[in-house]
Each structure stands twice: as structure tokens, then as C-alpha cells.
Amino acid sequence: MEQIIQTLILGIALGGVFALMGSGLSLVFGVMRIVNLAHPSLIIAGAYVTYWGFRLWGIDPLVMLPVAAVVLAGIGVLLYKLVFEREARSAKYSEMTVLLTFATAMIVEGALGFMFTNTQRVTSPGYATDAIFIGNVFIPMGQLYAGIVSLVIIGALAAFLKYSRFGNAIRATTQNRDAAELLGVNVNLVGIMSFAIGIGLAGAAGALVSFVFSFFPAKHWEWVAVLMSLVVLGGMGSILGTVLASFLLSIIAAFVGVWFGSTWSTMTFFLALFLILLVRPQGLFGEKPELA
């Protein structure tokens, strides 16, 4: 029983971090139909912003989080204007963005390697490797903080989308871009802002990643498939779905790791991706794809 509780805690802890990592990806797809393969590389960029704040001035990663989010949001605006805006009305937009974001990921990786070298980094605030013990069961403080901050940010995002005027515009654009434009929504501005928020979330996730995992520029390739599996299971574009999928898959992976071995723990995410696409392509909360 103790082991089950412990495994559950570790699964939840990992899920909290993945939830924020996947939310920005989901938002960007939901609003803009961009399958952003560069999202994990931008998470790494956020981790570097945090790392240097910590390294140079000793600023706690959690304090650096808003800085990383704002810096990355700014980069998001630039990226959108330079790369994605021009083709936004193309019939093949989603397909094209796969290639564009793949190229962007490689450019971001190259730029990070050039600026910061390929040396691995990690921030080490005191809580990163601490744990609270209740008997033999422990709760890792780093993951706990990351999970709580993650959920607070996602909650704030959900509230913003639901209750603010601009949030309503984003949701309307997510549901039907043309109808939203007919109703007077500035869909271009919504696009830019949504992309900026999505990439800002990558920056925030990067701040959390900086003390939960070690990272280096090429690390993002390891996360692409994991994040995609979360977003696909949740339903492309559904933030709530992504959050639930993050916890669900992380918990399953933790139990698989204990019962069947660590190799299968990682496979859980990839198997889930295949199964979902075969059985329920729209995921838990996504829209059913229309037949052509």
C-alpha cells in the first residue's frame, strides 16, 4: 500500500510539471491551428533565462518565472510576425506550420547552443532536491512547488479565457475563426496574443523545468513526443484535456515503471499516442474530426 501511495504521489508530481509544459502547446494549437514542434525548444530557452538569473544574481527560479514568461512571450510575438502571420490564411496552414515549427526548433536549438554552449545546466535552489517525509512516504518539494505553480498558472489562464473580454475573443476564435471575425473579433490580434501567451507559458514551464530536470539545447527532442501525447490525449486545443492527460499519463507511467520496468515507463507516452490516434483521434475533450 505504501508503494502504491508513493508511486501515485510521484506520478502526480511529474504530471504537474508536464501540465504546464503541454498547456501552451495546446493553446497555440487551439487558437491558431499551429502544431508547434518548437514549443519544447522554447521551454529550454525559458529554462536558460531562469538559469542565468539564478547563476548570475542568485534569483530563485520561481521568482525568475515571470521574467522567463515575459521574455519568451516577446520572442513569441517576434516569431509570429516573422514566421507564421504571412501564411495564416493559407488552406494548408496547419500542414505548413509543422515544417515551419520544425525548422524553428532547429534554429532555436542552434542559437541556444551558440549562446550558451551545449553544456548541460540545472538550477539548484534548496528545495529542488528536498522532500517531506510522512513515514516512509515522501513528497518531493521541487516537484510539489512546480506542480502547485503550474496549476495556479493554468487556473489563472482558464479564468482569463472564461471571464475576460479578450479571453472570450480567444475562445470564440478557437471555436470558429471565420465566425469570430464576422462578429468583429480582431482575429489577427487574437492570434498574436494567443501565440505570445502560449510561448509565455513555455517560458514559465522552462523556469520550473530548470530545477526539476537538467537541460541542454538538444534536450527538447526528448520532449516533443511526450508533450504531443499529452495534447493528443487531452484533445488538440483543450487545455483542460491536456492537464488531465498530463496527470493521467504520468501516473500510469509511474506505475508502469514500478511494475514493468523503467523502459516501459517512457513507452507509456508513445503507446498512448498510438492508441489514442487509433481509437479516439479527437482525444478526451477534442472535437470529432469531420469527414471530408
Binding site: Q3, Q6, T7, L10, A13, L14, E109, G110, G113, T117, N118, T119, Q120, R121, V122, S124, A128, T129, D130, A131, F133, F138, P140, G142, Q143, F213, S214, F216, P217, A218, W221, E222, W223, A225, V226, A253, A254, G257, V258, G261, S262, T263, S265, T266, M267, F269
Partner: protein, 429 residues
């Protein structure tokens, strides 16, 4: 008649031009190709390999080059991908016209590259590629610039257990966890006494039974592998190791990054052990990521900054201390073995060119094969001579231990001065 004379003169000129071509080519720099993982999973080590190669080439050129010619290094990024590495070596040889090559990083990349270089008759100096299977393919052109194959790395740990640990307090149980990686699997096979099979035809390469741990009377109470890429569940794995309550924890990490993740996870779950050994973690990044948790952790290495190795570079004496000072001046940090090993590869090829008096690869290969214990290749990693399959003869790994933020070498104790006493037991992280 005049036309025939003209034709004859033209033909003669053409023949002379063709005959003169090698002379022209040899007036230029000696091109050397190296395909390295500058991006992708092995980028941390790959980048340092590039620095090691470049620093060595620069210093050789400053000393007047080799055989009266300057060296020119051509580096390509193989993105940690074996197929790309193969293509790049083919290109070096068939398009760029290199006269020699330096090896790449990791067993995973070196294994397929070995066949290409053997096919083309090029000397293959390996900075990293310890899996025994690389050397049992029958290639005669391979020369490994680390002390031994991965399968025999465990011998150093066994020696430490035998010679440095008090008999009444020696570990009796072990938990062994490993990356599912070419190199780490080799170390695993040696420690657990498994058979090494040739992946091509399924034949037996070596039977390592009973294994170094069994020889020391150590019972393995937990063993587990994690996947080569994409593994994130370090806390879960560390907790399983903790539950096994073993005296000796062996973490066969494939990179310094994994060593950092694993050590931090051990600290979080508050694991304890009498002794902890990792197969990677000599790098400064390991210390930065683990700080005081690193205390007491043993890591084998091929090189240490304080080892008083004397070598040759550009025909002049060149000490290990010279390398450390030059590297620090060039890159602003203290080097680690990922930079030192490729530097030694470059020294070895330089000495082969000078020794053979040519850049002809078969001649260089013959000269390297002819090295003996008394007349070895001298590098900042110490002396090298090789057996028939290309593994160094009678060369032990150095066993190092992190103590108070410093990587000290603790074994072997009789090689040279400066050996620190090993701290034991380790206790908590």
C-alpha cells in the same frame, strides 16, 4: 605531322600534370576529418571533443605542423545520428580528400563508422567507443585511446573493492541500474558476467562469467535499465533503489546529464549506501548540478588533470599540466576527460604520421601496431600500445572520487604520486 606533335606535347603535358598532382596536394595542409555529435543527445561531450581536437591541431601548427605541412581539421556535426556520421566519413574520404580521420564520440556512433573506415583503409583512432563488439569485428585499423573496453571497466571497481575497502566493512549487496546504452550495457555485462554477443550473426564474442561482482562475493539485489532517450522518472527509479537497501549502488549512466539527474534523485529520496559508483560524472557540470551530494561518489576515468603524464606534441615534450593550462587559457574552464581524450587521439595520429614518415594510412597503422610498452605512443592520457584488436595493453582506468568539490584520483595507488585516500563509507547524498 605538326598536329601529331601538338597532340604528343599535349598528352605529355597532361601526363606530367597528373604525375605532379600528388606533389601539389602534399604542398597544402594535411586535411583531417572528424564527424562529431555537436547537437543531439551527445552534444555535451561532442562539443568538448571538438575543443580537444582543435586545441591540439592549433598547437601542432604553432610548432611548425607535421612533415613540414600544416594540419587542417574539418569538423561536421552528425547530430548524434549514426547514419549521418557514416555519410560524413564517406564524404571526408571521397569528396574532401582527407588524409586522416579522428574518431567520433560514443560506441553507438563508432560501431557503424568502424566498418566504413576499415573498408577505406583509414586508421580509426577512437576517443570514445568502448563496447567490445566494436573491436571483435575483425578490423585491423582500430586504435582505442582509452584504457580498456567497457566490458572490462568493472575491473577497476573490483580492484578498489579488493584493495581500498576494509574487508570487514565491504559491500555484500549491490543495486545496479543502467542506461540502455551501447557503452553502459557493456559495463553491465562485465559486472554481471553476461555473454557478449555479436549483433550481426549472434555469435558469442566473450563470456564474462562469473562477473566482477560475483567474484567479489557481492549479491545483486536490484537491477534495472532505463531507456536511452526520453526518460524522466528519476525519482521513481531512485526510490526503488533505496527500497532495495543495497550496500553498493552502481549507476551506469551514459552521460553526465544522467549522472546529475540520478544523484539529485538519490538525494531527494534520501537514499544511503556504503559505496556509490557511477560510470559518468567526472565533468565540472556534474559538480555544478549535484554540489555536496557528489561527495564520496566514485567515477572511473581515463584522465585526470593532476596525473603527471608526460607526452609529446609537435616533436617537443608536452605535459598534462601544459594541456590543462593551455585549455584553461583557450576556453576559460578546467578541461575534463571529454576534451583530454580527443587531444590524446590527435597526439597519437601526429606521432603516427611522424613515425611512419607519411600520411599513408596503412603505414601509419603499421607504425601504431608496432608500438610496445617500451616504445609507446605518448599522450596526455599516458602511454599507449595496443593488442591485435586495437585495445590498449595493460592500461588500467583511473578511479576518481568527488570530495569537497574536488575530483581526486584514488586508484591505482602505485602509478604515480598525488593519489588521495578514498573516503568510505559514503553514507547519505
Amino acid at each position: 605531322m605538326r598536329t601529331e606533335q601538338l597532340r604528343g606535347a599535349t598528352a605529355l603535358t597532361a601526363v606530367m600534370a597528373i604525375l605532379a598532382m600528388p606533389v601539389w596536394a602534399q604542398d597544402g595542409p594535411i586535411k583531417i576529418g572528424a564527424s562529431l555529435p555537436l547537437t543531439g543527445n551527445f552534444s555535451v561531450s561532442g562539443t568538448k571533443h571538438q575543443q580537444g581536437y582543435e586545441l591540439c591541431i592549433r598547437q601542432i601548427n604553432e610548432r611548425g605542423g607535421v612533415l613540414g605541412r600544416q594540419l587542417e581539421l574539418i569538423v561536421s556535426d552528425n547530430r548524434s545520428d549514426p547514419a549521418t556520421a557514416i555519410n560524413q566519413y564517406e564524404r571526408f574520404i571521397n569528396v574532401d580528400g582527407v588524409e586522416a580521420v579522428y574518431g567520433t564520440f560514443s560506441s553507438r556512433l563508432s560501431f557503424p563508422v568502424a566498418s566504413i573506415l576499415a573498408k577505406n583503409g583509414f586508421v580509426h583512432p577512437l576517443p570514445a567507443g568502448g563496447a567490445l563488439r566494436i573491436y571483435t569485428q575483425g578490423h585491423k585499423n582500430i586504435f582505442y585511446f582509452q584504457p580498456n573496453a567497457a566490458e572490462y571497466v568493472g575491473a577497476s571497481l573490483a580492484d578498489v573493492l579488493e584493495n581500498l575497502v576494509p574487508a570487514d566493512g565491504a559491500p555484500k549487496t549491490a543495486a545496479i541500474i543502467s542506461a540502455d546504452d551501447f557503452f553502459a550495457n557493456g559495463v553491465w555485462a562485465g559486472l554481471l558476467g553476461e555473454k557478449v554477443m555479436d549483433p550481426a550473426d549472434g555469435s558469442e564474442v566473450a563470456d564474462l562469467a562469473p562477473g566482477y561482482l560475483a567474484e567479489r562475493g557481492i549479491e545483486v539485489v536490484f537491477s534495472e535499465r532505463w531507456p536511452e532517450e526520453g526518460f524522466n522518472d528519476w525519482l521513481n527509479l531512485a526510490n526503488q533503489v533505496k527500497q532495495a537497501d543495497a550496500d553498493l549502488i552502481i549507476g551506469l549512466t551514459a552521460s553526465a546529464e544522467e549522472a546529475v539527474q540520478l544523484t539529485r534523485a538519490f538525494k531527494t529520496v534520501q537514499a544511503t549506501a556504503e559505496m556509490v559508483y557511477l560510470s559518468q560524472g567526472t565533468q565540472t557540470e556534474f559538480l555544478e548540478g549535484t554540489s555536496e551530494s557528489s561527495n564520496g561518489i566514485l567515477v572511473h576515468t581515463s584522465w585526470h588533470k593532476d596525473a603527471p603524464f608526460e607526452s609529446v606534441l609537435g616533436g617537443e615534450p608536452y605535459s598534462n599540466a601544459d594541456f590543462v593550462a593551455t585549455y584553461e587559457a583557450a576556453y576559460g574552464v578546467v578541461p575534463d576527460e571529454d576534451a583530454a581524450i580527443p587531444f590524446a587521439v590527435c597526439q597519437g595520429i601526429e606521432q603516427a604520421m611522424i613515425g611512419a614518415g607519411t600520411t599513408d594510412n596503412p603505414a601509419m597503422g603499421d607504425w601504431l601496431h608496432a608500438r610496445t610498452k617500451e616504445d609507446p605512443v605518448r599522450t596526455i592520457l599516458g602511454r599507449f600500445n595496443w593488442d591485435d584488436i586495437g585495445l590498449p595493453a595493460d592500461k588500467p582506468f583511473l578511479m576518481t572520487q568527488w570530495n569537497d568539490g574536488e575530483l581526486q584520483f584514488v586508484y591505482p595507488t602505485d602509478e604515480f604520486e598525488g593519489v588521495s585516500p578514498m573516503s568510505y563509507p559514503k553514507g547519505s547524498f
